[in-house]
Symmetry: C2
Subunit: 315 residues, 2 copies
């Protein structure tokens, strides 16, 4: 079996740490970067656990894409430009071929969604299969998209189509496909929202200076609406018929794994022309689904059995 | 069982994210910080896997200390002042009491070694017991301690006593103590180097502008000497009798888990007075063990069965 040092050396050859901020990439005790003047730094970490957040036999390229994408989605929700990132990977036994596939997925996801991002460090150890990614990004502090800025009268929007993540997860189980045999180049369309989610980095950047609040929809629309409303101190009225969805209301509202953005715009930013411009810049359809009101609480949603997708308390 | 949201809320109450750089702590999609002007940022991540890097039933306060300490050690080796950090924790089933103990360890280790550090984010998920910490720190880029700056004629130094980490690990196994019943307030002295290692943050800061190269000794002195020599393009002659150690040469040279600093100083920085000042500022004894030479390779070390402590290829 290849040693830790050999595998790390292979990773470094395939993933050179370059970029305007990188003073020192992997290979020392830590990376050293030069923060761009005037920018705030956004920091987030997310862990994917085998057989909980992905099938343990998933092809490594798809695991890498998914691990990066769910983390980049948090940067998108803050309106941040992706920067240096670190990957902590544990696996029971790693081969050079597996690491090579993992590199393919890292390179493809970064090229597609975060060409400014650079892998500057990480950790590789034997253990249960699990990936923790730490992402950093840059945004002028005053332009960061928080959860807390929605005002009464602001319109509520979502990007993309909800329920697709859950549908993809279910379709993978029902498809008879072997996860290890899937390739990045040929992910079936129905599975793509789950296996290769598209973090809305471009939309997040386009929303800077416009959106009053923003969050990504990793845990289902109903839960995220609640987070935005609570953080902003407003109520929200939603038209469930307006929510772009595949599958049932329940899937769209609580399915999770969609990684779209939920955001609010003041009426002056919600003209048809401005919304079209946002959709073009963001590379994804956006849809108005409701309005912020003074009275606390969520209104208009159908009764649901479960408020959101709590990864931790799931069986 | 407490939900993920309840446990995270408990963590936030006990670990408020404050500090001059913190614009926004946990609770949004990501944290937002303001990098201090003129500082470079050091970034590193390290994962501890249950029953590989610590006993699975280790008291959570000790697990937290050890997880932070091994990461702070990487900042120390760069000469960085600790800043924002993130903790990604997975565990099969978590209780409020366990989380409370974990918080105790986080708070104690940060108070002792990194009062400037702040927990700004993290991840909590059900899975195999494992902790990935991502640390960031600050250092003026020109003062960062790299592995690559040692020059011919520079003297070679280590802090503390080597072999103590391995001795502690072995003593824990032989002691009959139940790891779950250990407490931070009463760690037996022989186990402390393994369970509550002391990252040499103060020494790293004291070495800024003085050391020509520096590395932490997580993988054993022999391996780290090789890293420094190779990165700097020098050879090294070491007097093994000078290495402060407990146990055998083999333990001191390849045992790993010591988290002391190995560094080089030019002759002008190696006077008795200057070394005394360094030891006082660093809060730890330092010992000269050799000299950098022009001819590549390590000389003076006894023959060893194994070059370093490769966490990954260990059984």
């Amino acid at each position: 079996m290849a040693s830790e040092f050999e595998l790390i050396a292979a990773l470094r050859r395939r993933l050179p740490a370059t970029g305007p901020t990188v003073l020192l990439g992997p290979g020392d005790d830590a990376a050293l970067i030069q923060p761009p003047p005037g920018q705030g730094q956004v920091l987030s970490t997310d862990t994917l656990v085998a057989d909980r957040h992905f099938p343990a036999d998933l092809a490594p390229a798809l695991l890498a894409w998914r691990s990066l994408a769910v983390n980049l989605s948090d940067l998108a929700a803050m309106g941040a430009e992706p920067g240096p990132l670190l990957i902590a990977l544990t696996a029971p036994d790693l081969t050079s071929a597996w690491i090579d596939g993992f590199c393919d997925g890292v390179l493809a996801c970064l090229a597609a969604h975060a060409p400014s991002a650079t892998l500057v460090g990480g950790n590789l150890a034997r253990g249960p299969l699990q990936v923790s990614v730490t992402v950093t990004g840059w945004v002028p502090p005053a332009q960061a998209l928080l959860r807390s800025g929605a005002k009464v009268g602001d319109r509520i929007f979502v990007s993309g189509t909800l329920g697709a993540g859950l549908a993809g997860r279910q379709a993978l189980g029902a498809s008879g496909l072997v996860p290890a045999e899937l390739t990045l180049a040929a992910v079936p369309a129905a599975l793509a929202p789950y296996l290769t989610p598209e973090p809305r980095v471009a939309l997040g950047l386009a929303l800077r200076g416009k959106a009053t609040a923003c969050i990504d929809i990793s845990d289902g629309l109903a839960a995220e609406l609640g987070h935005l409303a609570e953080a902003s101190g407003v109520g929200m009225r939603v038209d469930p018929e307006a929510v772009p969805r595949v599958g049932t209301f329940e899937a769209a509202l609580t399915g999770g794994d969609d990684y779209e953005l939920l955001f609010t715009l003041p009426p002056g930013e919600a003209s048809a022309e401005k919304l079209t411009a946002l959709a073009v810049l963001g590379g994804v359809a956006i849809q108005e689904i409701g309005v912020c009101e003074a009275e606390a609480g969520l209104r208009g949603l159908p009764a649901l059995g479960q408020a959101g997708w709590d990864h931790f308390s799931q069986p």
